[in-house]
């Protein structure tokens, strides 16, 4: 894909996801219009059940909208074959799940390599990128550990390393800090900020933590499947958020 800065990396129109049928049917998403440009770091917030995960799954090509359209980097996703979608998931998108979805049988480095296996990266590049990515999250020395030998925070960092190793354009993280204590959560969030600053990676992150939300440059709030607010965070607030210890003082 041509890196055309003029069209947004994400553009949705009246995105709707209906769960169930008949009487029991309910809208997880009830018509979401959202545009996200390259290089943005967007925090997606909202109460439980507001549709955050539903939206992330659709944006990450893990689920299909019931109606509405989704243009990913200018491409109408509904026109893609399943193989093309798989290719996009492997090369262009990184997904960090709510909960930690590492494969228990594979050690950290092999978990990180997995998307690149499916994206048919040459073995040498795959290994090199996996090692790089693991050291970027500060876990180079734990490369051979199995997920059950890692702490929750370490495992989540492995998952992040896995998501960014292939060099995606868009990182989608659904409550990456949900299972972590405050300190590990902050670490993960500042990691995102570095990825965003240094590599220009576009990131959408779901979070409940209002303070964590301030790492973002933009906060989108969902409720009952609708976007109810969409704010750019001003620079002053962010500088404060960049130094949370000073805030605590």
């Amino acid at each position: 894909m041509i890196q055309d800065v003029n069209h947004p990396i994400i553009e949705t129109h009246q995105l709707r996801r209906r769960y169930g049928r008949g009487e029991a049917a309910m809208d997880g998403l009830a018509g979401v219009d959202l545009t996200i440009r390259r290089g943005e770091l967007v925090a997606l917030m909202g109460p439980s059940g507001s549709g955050k995960s539903t939206l992330m799954q659709i944006l990450g090509l893990l689920d299909r909208p019931t109606s509405g359209s989704y243009y990913l980097d200018g491409t109408d996703v509904s026109r893609l074959t399943t193989a093309e979608q798989a290719e996009l998931r492997g090369r262009r998108l990184g997904f960090v799940f709510q909960g930690i979805y590492l494969l228990p049988r594979l050690n950290a480095i092999r978990n990180v390599e997995l998307p690149m296996v499916y994206a048919r990266f040459p073995a040498s590049e795959r290994k090199h990128r996996a090692a790089d990515s693991l050291s970027r999250v500060g876990l180079a020395e734990l490369a051979n550990r199995r997920p059950n030998q890692l702490s929750g925070g370490q495992a989540q960092r492995v998952a992040i390393a896995r998501a960014v190793a292939p060099g995606p354009d868009l990182l989608l993280a659904d409550e990456p800090t949900g299972a972590l204590d405050r300190a590990s959560g902050r670490e993960v969030l500042s990691l995102f900020q570095h990825l965003n600053d240094d590599m220009g990676l576009t990131i959408v992150v779901v979070t409940h933590d209002p303070l964590v939300g301030r790492h973002a440059r933009r906060i989108v709030e969902l409720e009952d499947g609708h976007v109810i607010s969409d704010n750019i965070v001003n620079e002053a607030e962010r500088i404060v958020a960049d130094h949370p210890l000073e805030v605590v003082k």
Partner: protein, 399 residues
């Protein structure tokens, strides 16, 4: 890290599940291969037994009064006669057949099963059978003498008969035995016969046909044994016999049975048995297959989450399919190989015990392994195919 190493890894990670899956295949393959191998082992053993005669023997017997079809000389030999059939065959018939001087006929022997007791002392019984015949009989049945020879006035003992009559005697030649009321000298002892049909000779004592008929006060013989001069002469010999016999017995109250017919009958019977055994084996294969299917179905459901993660990380539907396919194929082949090994062992052991070689037949191995592969693939891949087609979110949602 290709599909096969992913598969191997997964097989090893779930050792118990893998073992259970393979067990179904092991049992199925073992049953099919062992049963069919035994079937064909028995068949070739029986054919081999006939082969040692060259399947050249022809039997002329009285027609059964109620059935005109020939009766196979099943497990027969001289003492398997049709005593209850009123026989009209005579020594003269046998002589007439030899006097036809056909090139197709090498031996003609009248056989009279004698309804008398045999014992080393007068008035007791050993349970042995006595047969009246001529020297041609031994040549036709390929029976050889361990000692002595066949004479018009003496008796020849089968190897087991000798041990029954004279348990501790090394050389019974010259001793007297009582056939009915008549004392006869032992003039010869036969070597032990191992052929399926000639085995009966081991438990028989032989006397000259006219002597035997006189002792038993009989006029008719039980059957006439004819040896054709070769495998290709059997039919020619058969028609000579039929022509001679027709002339002497215009009523046609006799039957002419060739060993080849018996061989055919036995072969047919054995084929039926083999088919039956294979049917049983197929059922166990099916049961094994259902076992595999169940485990695979459970497995895939269990592994929806894994499938979801892999798909979310960019695995194509085909990647997932290939992974599960590889796993199924590996498991099936593993189970198949173990099954074949076990049945090789079993066939060998049974063969040793039963005294014939029951080699594995290639078809059985191919069939069983092919079937287990098919089952493994079908039941391993169809559920995986279902899972692979789900959107990752759905797969991840499944618990």
């Amino acid at each position: 890290m290709n599909a096969f190493s992913i598969a191997l890894d997964s097989i090893w990670a779930h050792r118990l599940r893998s073992a259970l899956t393979s067990l179904g295949i092991v049992i199925g393959v073992f049953a099919v291969v062992t049963l069919t191998s035994l079937g064909s082992g028995v068949r070739s053993y029986v054919s081999g037994q006939f082969g040692s005669f060259g399947a050249t023997l022809i039997t002329v017997a009285p027609a059964l009064p109620h059935a005109s079809s020939h009766k196979p000389r099943f497990g027969g030999g001289p003492n398997n006669n049709f005593i209850n059939v009123p026989s009209t065959l005579t020594v003269g018939d046998a002589t007439a057949i030899s006097l036809a001087h056909s090139r197709d006929i090498s031996q003609v022997a009248p056989v009279a099963v004698l309804p008398v007791t045999v014992s080393p002392t007068s008035g007791s019984s050993s349970g042995l059978a006595a047969t009246g015949t001529t020297a041609s009989y031994f040549r036709a049945e390929q029976l050889s003498f361990a000692a002595g020879r066949f004479t018009h006035s003496g008796a020849v003992l089968g190897s087991s008969a000798m041990h029954t009559l004279f348990p501790r005697v090394k050389d019974p030649i010259g001793r007297t035995i009582y056939v009915g009321q008549s004392p006869l000298p032992v003039t010869g002892v036969l070597n032990s016969a191992s052929g399926l049909l000639s085995k009966a000779a081991n438990n028989t004592i032989f006397v000259y046909v006219s002597t035997g008929l006189k002792i038993s006060d009989l006029h008719n013989i039980s059957e006439i044994l004819v040896a054709a001069s070769g495998n290709t002469q059997v039919n020619g010999a058969g028609s000579v016999i039929t022509r001679v016999m027709k002339r002497r017995h215009p009523s046609g109250n006799f039957t002419v049975t060739k060993d080849t017919q018996i061989l055919k009958t036995i072969n047919n019977t054995l084929s039926t048995i083999t088919t039956f055994l294979s049917g049983l084996a197929a059922i166990s294969l099916l049961v094994g297959g259902i076992g595999i299917m169940n485990i695979m179905l459970v497995t895939v459901t269990e592994r929806f989450r894994e499938i979801g993660i892999r798909k979310a990380l960019g695995a194509r539907d085909s990647d997932i399919l290939v992974q599960f396919l590889a796993e199924s194929v590996l498991l099936s082949l593993l189970g198949g190989a173990i099954g074949v090994l076990l049945s090789a062992l079993a066939s060998h052991m049974i063969g040793q015990l039963a005294g014939f070689s029951a080699g594995l037949t290639l078809d059985a191995v191919a069939l069983a392994v092919g079937f287990s592969l098919l089952v493994g693939i079908v039941f391993g891949v169809i559920p995986a195919f279902r899972a692979a087609r789900l959107m990752p979110a759905e797969a991840l949602r499944t618990e």
